[in-house]
């Protein structure tokens, strides 16, 4: 009787432990890094003067270059409009001010990996 009880306890214990083992191990906390990359993209566009003159074709050219280098999708949104290389699936967003047609507008820069 004792043996049966002990074997049953062992089985239950194994069942509980196996559920713990299947829990995925925590991944690297990289949200500050993603934020830095979004800041880098904003800085690059700013330094190249794309955000002061807001030339959409030039911005798209730079975003395509960034996608080619890093594989990252970038989407710039303001009001109802947007410029994007592809739709970011998992993204980080930074908000900055850019001059669009000589008036300051709040733009959001989203970066992420492609889900295509």
């Amino acid at each position: 009787m004792n043996t049966i009880e002990a074997i049953l306890s062992l089985m239950i214990f194994m069942l509980i432990i196996s559920s713990f083992i299947s829990v995925p191990t925590p991944e690297l906390e990289d949200s500050p890094y993603k934020l830095k990359l979004a800041e880098d993209i904003w800085r690059i566009l700013y330094l190249k003067g794309e955000l002061t003159n807001f030339q959409e074709d030039k911005i798209l050219e730079d975003l395509n270059k960034i996608k080619e280098l890093t594989g990252l999708c970038v989407s710039i949104n303001w009001k109802e409009e947007s410029i994007k290389t592809c739709e970011p699936s998992e993204f980080v967003v930074v908000k900055r001010i850019a001059f669009i047609n000589s008036s300051p507008e709040m733009i959001s820069i989203k970066i992420g990996v492609t889900n295509e």
């Binding site: 002990a6 880098d40 330094l47």
Partner: protein, 141 residues
Amino acid sequence: MKQSQPNAFISLDFVLAILPVLLILFYGLSLSNLLVENSTQNMESQILFDKLLSASDYVVRYAAVEKTISPNPKESKSVPNKISEEEFSKLDVNSLKEKLGLSSLEISFEKSASSGACIYRLVLYNNEIKKLYFCGNNEYN
């Protein structure tokens, strides 16, 4: 009164009962050991990642970027993300490595072939968008 079961059978029953308990203990101990090892490894990777991120931030925001030097230090400005060839060549990687407690640190526009972790930052170099790699290893690895 005479015993209904022989002693040998009681001992066998005891052994069979204690065996799963011992197995549970052994399994529990090896599992906790594995979990501790995993969490230590994760922590080390996170520390290394954070150190590389700090190094990259220092280099990309201040150390290797274009600067406007003024006689008044308060008026001197640096241009984050715009890498200057001159400042980049002057970069003291060894001192940075020691301050961060890393066994190796490489900062270059090409990804290092050596082992260890690497991160990259996007910069403007000669008016071109480039990836600047920061590769390193922890001292205790």
